[in-house]
Subunit: 190 residues, 2 copies
DNA sequence: GAATTCTGATTGACCGGTCAAACAATGAGG
DNA sequence: CCTCATTGTTTGACCGGTCAATCAGAATTC
């Protein structure tokens, strides 16, 4: 039983790596399988088709990010502190590997033609939004929705630009940017 | 001589349309040619290969955006007014068609594997940045660079989310968002 | 009739997906 | 212990289809 799981994880890991190398979804299942040390047929056996393999990989990324956020929030008390934790988690090192960023970008592309990808992406958006809103409410009142939307867009935009400049310190800079914008919004609300 | 130009423009227009329909670059030259009312071979004759056709289309989009900005700036006087014009131009209706947005998104994807796409994208980034910096300098002094980066990332992020929710009024909302963020930054600087 | 514009036909390579069968692990019956 | 059957795991070989790119030459223009 454990064999199947190990193979699935191996293939998912390989998928992210190969997407990082290619920068796009224009990759072959053979290449992924080779990186996973397995025959292409096995990938089809476990995942059905190429799209499902990619979606499984993306679900893995999403779950990982979600866990980071939950963990970060568990030890925070004040709304302000919780907001900062969310921002930090959003730019955690685990999300900063080439493959993960490239996968995100291509996830947006796929969301335009795949119903399932679209669904998953909306879940991510609404989770992020609701996390923000929950802790913004006590600080900015009914502007919480608006501010949450802005911060979410800013985070996505910063990631988008990261695709081009994979600098090591970019994570810290991005965090500062979002936190400064948050601070501006808090000032504006008072 | 005018024939070649007309065909090129027709093919570029068709390329943007087809990208909009598919949401990705995973499209065939045949499909583009058919939409342009021309044989696939002609597309190869004029553009050499598929990538060059797409890059030409993207150059067209970039040039069009640049013209919008220049026009908008020509009739603005104060720095504040100029900044607002840039933001408005960035969300001008011409950029709001499905195809253009999808092309932008896939442009980022291609920039990871195509040197030329990467180059073009950097040009766009540095132009936008320098436009912003020029008019931010008198308003926020040496924070101009930082603020310009933030606004640029925010614009890109808003576009990214537009891919998912092609609402008509999204343009107005996006403009308000960026202008509000700008206002916050101006307040913070004083 | 020369130059330009354009196409139909073709090709050669590649790739997603299938399938039948080999191989390994487990365990029940003797 | 040793069959032997059952189930899960894995692969090599293969196929149908697609598509970018080519090319020789037809149509059109000047």
């Amino acid at each position: 039983m454990g064999v199947e799981m190990r193979r699935r994880e191996e293939l998912i890991r390989a998928t992210i790596l190969v997407i990082g190398e290619a920068g796009s979804l224009d990759i072959t299942v053979s290449r992924i399988a080779k990186k996973a040390g397995v025959s292409p047929a096995l990938a089809f056996h476990y995942f059905g088709d190429k799209e499902r393999l990619f979606l499984a990989s993306m679900r893995h990324v999403l779950r990982s990010y979600h866990n980071d956020v939950v963990t970060a929030l568990s030890s925070a008390s004040t709304p302000r502190e919780r907001l900062e934790r969310i921002v930090h988690a959003s730019f955690a090192p685990a999300n900063f590997h080439r493959g993960v960023i490239a996968a995100w970008l291509n996830f947006y592309v796929l969301a335009q033609s795949s119903e399932e990808a679209h669904r998953l992406l909306r879940i991510y958006h609404s989770r992020l939004r609701s996390n923000f809103v929950h802790d913004l409410r006590p600080l900015v009142g009914d502007r919480a929705e608006t501010v949450a939307g802005r911060l979410g867009a800013l985070i996505d935009g910063l990631y988008l630009r990261l695709v081009l400049t994979p600098v090591e310190s970019a994570g810290e800079t991005a965090i500062e940017t979002v936190l400064a914008t948050l601070q501006n919004e808090l000032n504006a609300a008072s």
